[in-house]
Structure formats: structure tokens, C-alpha cells
């Protein structure tokens, strides 16, 4: 056995941003063996993507190598001239990126972009090149590759574009594939397909993969070995089984504990206090020290060593340093209680119920000179659901299924084209003017992107008080300001924050401000549209905890729109699964998650990468992708992708079938014959 395929030693990358340089990669070392999948795991801003770019010498203009070596085979990539490096890129190390949407050149055909690599590294020209392109596209599972090769990127779906990226990466026959968050921008069913493809290619070609991800599920699916990155350093390295079994570093542990999951229902999720320290500061001790619950005085003073913990495991933590065995167990710091128990109790509301019947939101498609309506996008097409009082209904589906449109139509941000929405018996869709404004008090909305949903020119006090002003809550400015204080306190922010502006806060804090703004008008129903999908896992846990406590304290009802099934398991009481504008299955969350009946729900659940290392789980792979909502398939919308479809599925839409207590699904196969 020869040495490793790639070894990185003491790599340091600095970003010059004016002032002291940001040490985005700060002395990392690892090696990758031929044919293995090595995962770099970390949250955003930890330096994992910069490490990937550094391997290929593709640092942004502000970046520079401060020290270290990157050895591929026997060449040090940092010592060879740029021209020689160009023979390494694409030929020996290939890379795929997070955003397939923007990583392909929009004005060149897919075939030309793959062919370019063959011409550069394989010397192929003309017909031989075209044939090889078709072969490669076929290899990555693109149907009708000869035709697809002539198409432009915008004609392909996101999943297909990522396949093209993979084909492009394979074209040079590389020894190592660097995949930077390759599935983060994709829906869960597409993600499963792409991960499967990567595994197959690895088997077939024996190529090594450096996979960069923040998703523990992806780690469990793919990794042979894992390195965890935090603030520019690798804090732990371990083989797969050991890592998934019991991670050593307190940060790794926290990452696992903060995952929302069924088993943690009703209990608060672990959170990591504080934020990642700025990388342009001088560190003396451990970088994680300020956020660590198991820190002790030494941690702030001495940087932890890279400790061999046996069985191929390494960790950068004083707790595992044999020279420092005498750590008193009791120094563990208790996490701060997430809820402000002494916060002002709001008047308890009477229970509210939202009932949505046969809701339709159709958008006209206008074409041509006269803007004629040539068709409709059936974004929401006959949707029925109910949110029980003081509980959470999760509306689940992939992007493009119409779940956000549903939320906006209920909140009257979009006009519904048909159906009925009743809140407390009030016909919501019929309200106009002042009556509609009064209803705004009852139904609030929390948006996906907390930054975009705040006016950057308003300070926090004005943002939170905006609803009170509009609804005439609080007689004087002073009274409102007092309420702003207590609301900020309630969502876990320092009331001193109220004179600051949105850009001064982190993502999680911004979402807290948005929650305070919604609570200010004392709503009974809050529609949450993917409120945590823009946040890191540890911050997501904080927001989910907050939402759960607020529900207990104030008796709120949530319509929780999400694509994240783990969040559903943790937070929701009931779940409704949406596919192409309609609900295909709904019921109590335990029931649906444990015994999914609709084939789509089953596929969706099985596509989610599981952290649990248990294998042998039955996997259902969906063919194709979500059809266009402007021309939904006949009969059951799901039949073209359904693994168990029958002829009758093509003919008419299945009626609701009761499959358990409060559990219904729309599927012909469940109906009694």
C-alpha cells in the first residue's frame, strides 16, 4: 500500500478584507486515501468551502496561502507553476459546486461544456468527443443523452444540471472528486438520487470523493471518514462508525443533539449558545471555548492539542488530553433556559381554528401581443386542511408544490381564485378593508428569510411596534415601547437591542425579531413559512425551541410550512403532505410518520438521509421530477412517478380514503376494491 492520494498539511488561507486578515483556514491537516469518501463537516463560515477551493488553487482574489502544503501523489500543488496546475484541475482533481443553477454557462450547450474537458484533458475531437459526451451523460443517468447534449442549461431541471456537473467532473477521469455541498440546493428526492449516483460512480471508478456538507444525514449516507471543521480548524477526525456512534468533541456532540427528531418531541433541543467567533481575532485558547458547556479555565488559556484517541480517531480538545485528566466533572455549565419564564403572561386566548376547504389559487399565464391568457398555473388546486386549536399543523412538500402559495393565500397576501377559508367561523376570503385589517391581528406570518422581511432602514423598536401602531394597540409611544421591551425579552433578546438595525444581528436573532413583531399584535394563528431553512442547524434548534415554548405559553396555533421532515417530527401535531397543489395524505404526526400510506409520503420519508447508522432500510427511489403545475398529469397527479401505479390511476383523481384514526390518504390502492 502506497501513501495517501492527497495529503494536506498545516494549510493556512487568509482573506484580506482590510484590517487584520481573516484566517478562514487555519492550519488544517488531513489526508485522503484512494477510493474513499472523506467528509468535511461544518456549519456555514467554518472554512470548509474555502478549503475545497484551496485544493484546486481557485481562491478568490482576496485569498492567499499563508503556509502549508497540498500533496497529490508526489507533487506539492502549491509549488508547481500555474500552467502545470491547469493540468491537475479537471484531470486529476475535479470539482462540483453547490448551485447547479449558476455553475453552468448559460450560453453554451451542455454537450459543449462537457466536451471542453475531453478536448482539454483527453485530446478528443469531433465525433469521438461527441460520442464520449453522450456516453458520459448516459453514465450519470440522463435519459435521452444525445438530445440533452444539444440543449442549454436552462432547459434542464436542477437535479439534471447537477448530473451534468458530475458528468463534466468525470470527463477528465480524475482521481479525486471534490463535491462542495452538492445536494444542498436540491429537493430531498433529488438529493437521494444524486447521492446514490455518487456512490455508484465511486464503486465503478474507484475515484476518491472529498464531500463537503453541513448535513449529518448526508454524512451517515456517504462517509468513510469524517473531519469536523470549526472556525477554520479541524476539531475532530474519525472513521464513520466511531463518529456516528459517539463523537468525541463537544461541538460534534452538540451538532447531533441539536437535530430535531421524533425522539426529542416535547423536550427542548440542545442549542449551541453564541456565535462562531470572528476569524480575524487572535485566538489564545480553544476556539469553541466561549460556546462550550464543558469548558474549564484551561480552555481559555491554552490551545488544545491534536490528540490521538485511538482507532483512527483524533480530536482537538483538552477533555481528551491524557495530560489533563483531572478535569472536574462538575464544571459543565448549565445551558441557559430558553424561555423567559418571568416574561409577561399574555391574556389567554380562546382557542382558534382555521378551516380551509377546497382552496384554489390559479395564476394566469399570459402570452403574446395582447397578453392573452393561454393557460393557468394550478399552484393550489383544491386544498383542504384544518388547524386544530393550540397545536401545529405541518404542511410538507417539495419546492414548487404550492405550499408557500397556500400560506400566502390564507394570509390574504395573494388572492385565492376559489374555495373557502374560515377562521373562527369568519369567512376570511370575503373580508375587505377595515374588517380585513382587524383580521390581520389574529393571523400572522413568519417568513423564510428574516433579513428580507425587515425594512433595513427601520430600527428594531419600530419594526416590532409596527403592528401595534397599525392595529392601535397601546395608547402612547411610551406604552408601546414598554411592550416592545417585554416582547424582545420573551423571544430571548436583550431589550437594549431595540435601537439597533437589522443588519447588526445574526440570522437567528433576526428571526427572533420577526417572531416578536408577529407576537406584538397578539395573534392566535401564526403561519410559519420555512422559518428555519435559512439557518444553521444549531440556530434552527434555538428557533424551534422558542416556537414550541411560545405555543405552550400563549396557546398559539401554527401552520408550519416546511420541506424538512425532521422538523415536522419534532414540532408538529398533525401533518399534511402536499403534492402538486393538493394534499395527498394527512393525519396525526406519529401516525403518518410511522405508518405512511400514500406512495409519495413513503418515498419522501425514505429519501431523507438518516443520521442513525442503522441500515437495511427499504428505499423507494422516485423516477423523474415534479411535473409542471401548469399541466398536471391526468388522474392522480402522482401516477407518472409512482412505483405502484395502476391503469386506473391515470383516469381519475382518487378520493380520500380513511386509513386510520384521523388519518386519510388519496390513493386508489388504499380504497377497498
Amino acid at each position: 500500500m502506497t501513501g495517501p492520494l492527497l495529503s494536506v498539511s498545516d494549510l493556512r488561507v487568509h482573506l484580506d478584507t482590510g484590517g487584520p486578515p481573516a484566517r478562514v483556514v487555519d492550519g488544517i491537516s488531513f489526508s485522503i486515501r484512494a477510493g474513499e469518501t472523506f467528509v468535511l463537516l461544518g456549519e456555514s463560515g467554518c472554512g470548509k468551502s474555502m478549503t475545497a477551493l484551496a485544493l484546486l488553487r481557485l481562491l478568490p482574489p482576496a485569498g492567499r496561502y499563508a503556509s502549508g502544503s497540498i500533496t497529490l501523489g508526489s507533487t506539492d500543488l502549491l509549488r508547481i507553476p500555474e500552467q502545470a496546475m491547469r493540468d491537475v484541475r479537471g484531470r486529476r482533481i475535479a470539482m462540483i459546486f453547490q448551485e447547479p443553477q449558476t455553475a453552468l454557462n448559460p450560453v453554451l450547450t451542455v454537450g459543449a461544456q462537457v466536451g471542453e474537458v475531453l478536448a482539454r484533458h483527453r485530446g478528443l475531437r469531433g465525433a469521438a468527443m461527441r460520442d464520449r459526451v453522450v456516453e458520459l451523460l448516459d453514465d450519470v443517468g440522463i435519459a435521452d443523452p444525445r438530445r440533452r447534449a444539444e440543449e442549454f442549461p436552462h432547459q434542464l431541471s436542477g437535479g439534471m444540471k447537477q448530473r451534468v456537473m458530475i458528468a463534466m467532473a468525470l470527463a477528465g477521469g480524475p482521481d479525486l472528486l471534490v463535491a462542495d455541498e452538492p445536494t444542498t440546493a436540491l429537493d430531498v428526492t433529488m438529493q437521494a438520487q444524486v447521492l446514490q449516483l455518487l456512490r455508484e460512480i465511486k464503486e465503478r471508478t474507484g475515484m476518491a470523493i472529498l464531500l463537503i456538507t453541513h448535513d449529518l444525514g448526508v454524512v451517515a449516507e456517504m462517509a468513510d471518514r469524517i473531519a469536523v471543521m470549526y472556525a477554520g480548524q479541524i476539531v475532530e477526525e474519525a472513521p464513520r462508525t466511531e463518529f456516528l456512534g459517539a463523537p468525541l468533541h463537544p461541538y460534534s456532540r452538540k451538532l447531533f443533539e441539536s437535530l430535531p427528531d421524533e425522539s426529542r418531541r416535547g423536550a427542548p433541543l440542545a442549542v449551541i449558545e453564541g456565535v462562531v467567533p470572528p476569524l480575524n481575532t487572535e485566538f489564545r485558547g480553544c476556539r469553541f471555548e466561549t460556546r462550550c458547556e464543558r469548558r474549564w479555565p484551561t480552555c481559555a488559556l491554552l490551545p488544545p492539542k491534536w490528540i490521538d484517541a485511538g482507532a483512527g480517531r483524533y480530536v482537538r480538545c483538552h477533555l481528551h488530553d491524557p495530560a489533563m485528566r483531572d478535569i472536574p466533572e462538575g464544571v459543565a455549565r448549565a445551558g441557559r433556559a430558553q424561555t423567559a419564564a418571568d416574561g409577561p403572561r399574555q391574556k389567554s386566548h380562546a382557542a382558534a381554528t382555521l378551516i380551509v376547504r377546497d382552496l384554489q389559487v390559479h395564476f394566469p399565464i399570459q402570452r403574446g401581443i395582447l397578453r392573452r391568457t393561454v393557460g393557468h398555473v394550478y399552484a393550489v388546486d383544491g386544498l383542504t386542511l384544518a388547524v386544530p386549536p393550540a397545536s401545529t399543523l405541518a404542511l410538507v412538500g417539495e419546492s414548487g408544490c404550492g405550499k408557500t402559495t397556500t400560506g400566502k393565500a390564507i394570509a390574504r397576501l395573494l388572492e385565492a381564485t376559489g374555495g373557502e377559508v374560515r377562521f373562527d367561523g369568519i369567512d376570511v376570503l370575503a373580508l375587505r378593508g377595515a374588517a380585513l385589517r382587524r383580521l390581520r391581528r389574529e393571523i400572522q406570518f413568519i417568513f423564510q428569510d428574516p433579513y428580507a422581511s425587515m425594512n433595513p432602514r427601520m430600527n428594531v423598536a419600530d419594526i416590532v411596534a409596527e403592528g401595534m401602531v397599525a392595529q392601535g394597540i397601546g395608547r402612547t409611544a411610551a406604552e408601546r415601547l414598554q411592550r416592545v421591551d417585554s416582547l424582545l425579552h420573551q423571544v430571548g433578546l436583550d431589550p437594549g437591542a431595540k435601537s439597533r438595525y437589522p443588519h447588526e444581528f445574526s440570522g437567528g436573532q433576526r428571526q427572533r425579531i420577526c417572531i416578536a413583531r408577529a407576537l406584538a399584535v397578539q395573534p392566535r394563528l401564526v403561519i410559519c413559512d420555512e422559518p428555519t431553512s435559512a439557518l444553521d442547524v444549531s440556530v434552527q434548534a434555538q428557533i424551534l425551541n422558542l416556537l414550541r415554548t411560545l405555543q405552550e405559553e400563549l396557546g398559539l396555533s401554527y401552520l408550519f410550512i416546511t420541506h424538512n421532515l425532521a422538523v415536522v417530527r419534532y414540532l408538529a401535531h398533525e401533518v399534511a403532505v402536499m403534492y402538486l397543489g393538493r394534499i395527498v395524505e394527512r393525519g396525526p404526526v406519529e401516525e403518518v410518520m410511522a405508518r405512511p400510506r400514500h406512495p409519495y409520503t413513503r418515498a419522501l420519508l425514505s429519501a431523507v438521509p438518516q443520521v442513525d447508522p442503522e441500515t437495511g432500510r427499504e428505499r423507494i427511489r422516485l423516477r423523474g421530477e415534479l411535473p409542471s403545475p401548469s399541466s398536471p398529469p391526468s388522474g392522480c397527479h402522482f401516477h407518472p412517478r409512482c412505483p405502484v401505479a395502476e391503469p386506473r390511476c391515470r383516469e381519475r383523481y382518487p378520493a380520500a380514503v380513511s386509513v386510520g384514526p384521523d388519518h386519510t390518504a388519496h390513493c386508489h390502492l388504499l380504497a377497498p376494491p
Partner: protein, 272 residues
């Protein structure tokens, strides 16, 4: 703020101050003096005299006053009316917006200052007609920008959030839309100042603007061109003054644009 931008601001403030204080300076821009015809600059008269022996320095200050007067009316008037039309179109949408968009297309179809030249030419000379012609031409630039900006802001989530909270439409416009489009409009207006100074000078150069004996940079350049061979200072002096004003406005506009550049704005935000 860069040194160049500070200097530009200084030039513009100096221009405004000089032009505003002109009446207090006891200038004699129209004093014809035959012995001093086309006298080059000297210690006694540091910008020299023109073809009628009038002092160039006095005429230059009066010309700057003319520019300021035209800019002071045209820019606020066209920016306010253009912004109002643009925001209204974006907010109302529908047929109203479609009509406004078509109207803007028609105005934008005239290249540069052609329409202003034609209007000024047909209306006849005079400072009032210059103002009318330039306002009729410049509003559309502001309208186009305000409309595009308002459309972008209108779909931002904080506007949705304000609607969900029940904030009435006028308050949303005032608090959520206008503050966000003010900065780009200000930038447009800074560049608009340069455009109006240039257009007024151009019209006067063509003989369509301010009429003799009133002074204008364009008219001074027109006279200067005629005597370029014998008295180059007559074309160099007003030209340099005009160049300085243009350069100051453009530099300031660039600096503002640089500030508004989203890539720069992002890097100014603290890391989350």
C-alpha cells in the same frame, strides 16, 4: 469618503455659494469697454475680457448663476414628478402602469437631448423655455428608475410583513418603499445635475438658450469659439469651469453609486 469625492463636494458647494452670492458682489458683467477688448488675463483682471471688453470673471460668475438657477428648478421638479409617476405606476400596476410604461417608452425613444433641442428651438429662446424643455425631457429618467425600484421593493418580504400586520397602504409607501428608493434617486439626481448643466450650456451654445446679454457658459463658449485664434482665453476659461462642474458631479455620482453597490454593502455588514 474619498479625497476626490470631498474635493467634488467642495467644488459644488463653492459653485452654489458663488452663484447665490453673486448679487452682493457688485459685478459688472455687461460693462462694455472698448479699450479692453479681448484683453488676456492679467493681475488687474484675472480672467481677461471678452470680445466686447466685458470682464470675463464677472460674466463667468453670472453664467454660473444661470446654471444654478436652471439646475435648481429643473432637477427638483423633474425628480419629484418623475418619482411620483414611477412609484404610482409600480404601486397601482395594471392598466395604469401599462399606459405609463408606454408613455415612458415614447419619451425614451428620443435620443439624448434631441427632444430638448427641438422643444427649445420651437418654443423660442429664453431661460423659461429652457427650463420647460429640460423638465419635459428629464422627468422620464427618474420615472423609469423609481418605477423599477418600487417594483423591486414592493415584492420584498417586509412589505408583505407590513401588509400582514394591517399597516395601511399610504403608511407602507411612506415607511417601506420611499426610504428604500431615496438613495438610488439621489444618485440619479446627482448625475442629473451634471446632465442639466451640460444641456443648458449646450442649448445656449446652439443659440437656443439664454439670450444675450445674459451670461451663460454655453453662450460664452459660443463667442469664444469665434475668436479662438486671437483670444484663446475666451474659450478656455468657460470650458474649464464647465469641465470642473461636470467632473465634480460625475465623481460624486460615482462615489454614491459605489456606496450603493450591493457587493460593497454586503461586505460592510458584520458577519452573522
Amino acid at each position: 469618503m474619498s479625497a476626490a469625492a470631498r474635493l467634488s463636494l467642495f467644488v459644488l458647494i463653492g459653485w452654489a455659494a458663488l452663484a447665490a452670492l453673486a448679487p452682493l458682489l457688485r459685478l459688472t458683467p455687461d460693462a462694455i469697454s472698448l479699450p479692453e477688448i479681448m484683453q488676456p488675463p492679467s493681475w488687474a483682471s484675472w480672467l481677461g475680457h471678452d470680445d466686447l471688453g466685458r470682464p470675463m470673471a464677472d460674466r463667468l460668475i453670472c453664467a454660473l448663476r444661470t446654471s444654478l438657477l436652471v439646475v435648481g428648478i429643473v432637477v427638483p421638479l423633474s425628480a419629484a414628478s418623475g418619482a411620483a409617476v414611477g412609484v404610482a405606476a409600480a404601486w397601482r400596476g395594471g392598466l395604469f402602469d401599462a399606459c405609463i410604461a408606454r408613455l415612458m417608452d415614447v419619451f425614451l425613444a428620443f435620443p439624448g437631448t434631441l427632444l430638448a433641442i427641438a422643444m427649445a428651438g420651437l418654443l423660442g429662446p429664453g431661460i423659461g423655455n429652457v427650463v420647460i424643455a429640460l423638465t419635459a425631457v428629464s422627468w422620464v429618467g427618474y420615472a423609469r428608475m423609481a418605477r423599477a425600484q418600487a417594483y423591486a421593493v414592493k415584492t420584498r418580504e417586509h412589505v408583505h410583513a407590513a401588509r400582514v400586520l394591517g399597516t395601511p397602504a399610504p403608511a407602507i409607501l411612506l415607511r417601506h418603499v420611499l426610504p428604500l428608493i431615496a438613495a438610488p434617486l439621489l444618485m440619479e439626481a446627482t448625475l442629473g445635475v451634471a446632465g442639466v448643466i451640460l444641456a443648458e450650456a449646450g442649448l445656449s451654445f446652439l443659440g437656443l438658450g439664454v439670450q444675450p446679454p445674459s451670461a451663460s457658459l454655453g453662450a460664452m463658449l459660443r463667442d469664444g469659439t469665434a475668436y479662438m485664434l486671437v483670444a484663446p482665453h475666451m474659450v478656455i476659461v468657460p470650458g474649464l469651469a464647465l469641465l470642473a462642474l461636470m467632473l465634480a458631479c460625475n465623481t460624486l455620482g460615482d462615489a454614491l453609486q459605489h456606496r450603493l453597490d450591493p457587493r460593497r454593502t454586503l461586505s460592510l455588514m458584520p458577519a452573522a
